[in-house]
Symmetry: D3
Subunit: 136 residues, 6 copies
């Protein structure tokens, strides 16, 4: 009896698409206005999904308050109101595309979640563009 529990969170951040080692011109040619050297930004919405057996004692897969706090500490405190390229260590050399951000988030959360549980993360960059990753 495996159930998936999902918790939504959000953070607001600036970024630019920028491939380290390429010139600003090449970055602009490939990434267009998303590569503006002065940055733009988003309200990122995040859904973290954990799949596992329901504990017959508590009726929980995992306590949602624990999951909420974990997302706050690991992701919101690290990313919210930040410049992803300049202030988040993982993106100093990694292009902060949605794809790369969702993998970074998954990698940060994975060690904090019970190993028997499956983890999946969905990240909305805008209401029309979103990505998901489940570690496979």
């Amino acid at each position: 009896m495996r159930v998936t529990v999902n918790r939504k969170a959000h953070f607001n951040a600036a970024h630019r698409l920028y491939k380290a080692g390429w010139s600003d011109e090449k970055n602009l040619a490939v990434f267009g206005k998303c590569s503006n050297p002065l940055y733009h930004g988003h309200n990122y919405d995040l859904t973290v999904s954990v799949t596992g057996e329901v504990d017959p004692e508590t009726g929980f897969v995992m306590d949602m308050k624990v999951l909420k706090d974990l997302i706050k500490i690991e992701i919101e405190d690290a990313f919210d109101h930040k410049n992803l390229n300049e202030e988040v260590a993982e993106f100093k050399t990694l292009n902060p595309t949605s794809e790369n951000i969702v993998v970074v988030i998954w990698n940060k959360l994975r060690p904090k979640i019970d190993k028997r549980h499956k983890l999946s993360v969905t990240l909305y960059e805008t209401p029309r563009n979103f990505v998901s990753y489940c570690g496979e």
Copy 2:
């Protein structure tokens, strides 16, 4: 050619998280304000998803009006404007966590759906907390 058809529904209910056999004090220690003995409540949103072959005659996996009526009879009439702990038989002894509610809903719907079809249920307790179950 297997397509998934999804139908949304909703019900408003009171509940408290309460493990039968534990004292109110232990319930409050584990479940916090969600265990308030005087209850709190939610607008629950439900998505029922049925996967199967498209019938070449009708172009339907299953008639959405039939699915809508089934959800009304089995779930909305049983849960809407009710106190889940006190008035819904399944939760007399089962803690009405989101996880347990979604499994109960799945179990109530499964016998009413064509055996060749796969059934999955998603339940939103709030816009930020939701769970899903597909019977595996």
Copy 3:
């Protein structure tokens, strides 16, 4: 140059529609399933709107963090995960209809907001039913 600033918040609560002094039967006759003596509940969504001059120093009508904290202290801490009829003083004798709840919220917030500012409150009981009040 008067701008309206709006802040959303939410709380989850149990209630029943109940006119003090009427029998349970009369309450059920008038209020239907909303008067279930064992309660039901909602995820209430709240928008608090404050209209005033933009301060040329800060560019704010009022600091949104201050407004957010005010709503938390005055409304969320008082109503969230509560039984409105049994645990919120204002509804001991007042029927917790959406109309009465929105007026109570407005009355609680009005003394905390700058007198030169206009205050309006909108309360969603469900995504389909909502009410608003501006003190007039």
Copy 4:
């Protein structure tokens, strides 16, 4: 490291549920008001999901601008502000149920997407009724 990228789009169209070869009466008996011979219509919302490896050069599974343009050319330009039964070739003889529309959309997009990528399409006929298809 396979990530799913999702792009939303929409189109507004008229249709009626109509099985070619059946009389209007039989169509009305089976499909009810959805078979009104004078048509009704919807704001269709569409999510196109592409799963594949993240390109280490660009950080993209596929360029979202390319995906957006592809959806516009293949789907929006073909379906938007059209009568599906009368003006879209695929539905001249195929009943435009949500199930059949989502399969048609998938079939139109599949040849335009990198063969190594998985494609899935979700179509909302209304906010309460939606379908999805992944080619299996």
Copy 5:
């Protein structure tokens, strides 16, 4: 103590923008693809807002169930799954723009609402285009 109560509803319909007395060519020149002679359609969302004194007996401005039923009878039953131009009497000679539809809805509801109450109607043609009318 005047409160506004709001109720949401929806209907799905086909229409075309068409000025009676103009040729199809002139209609297409002025209204573009919205004037397609074979129609297109929308999921229309409707909010009906009624402002008045709160009744001290019931705590209601007006019973939401009564308002819900009124919208069903007057608007949903008349417009849902219909071709507005061909099947709704008011639009036989009146162009069914959003502006004209919202005025027609207001005019149909106004005689059914207590004269002491103010009535306002908002109509969403799409999530991005909407109109409102309050009879002034």
Copy 6:
């Protein structure tokens, strides 16, 4: 017979709250993390509302395509994927709070809208924080 027509739009931008003439320290003391010198960002959602008489010829208050194009040229092209503080002339010396942004947008649109029409603008900085301005 005055109707309000509303059109939604959006832009993604970076900004920081920064009062020109104050030190970074004072800006941080007053504006907190919103004053991060390396910027953060938002998906801004915009609703532009125009109130006027319905033209009996067209059934329009104003052509929504014209309004859509006007918002694109005046606002989206100027603000989207930009750093508001550094790249938008109006905010070189004006703190880009939501209040100041909504007034700037209103001032840019007002001369382009028929003088007989009323103009109102609502700007969402996040789904929970939004402001509106109608020129009064």
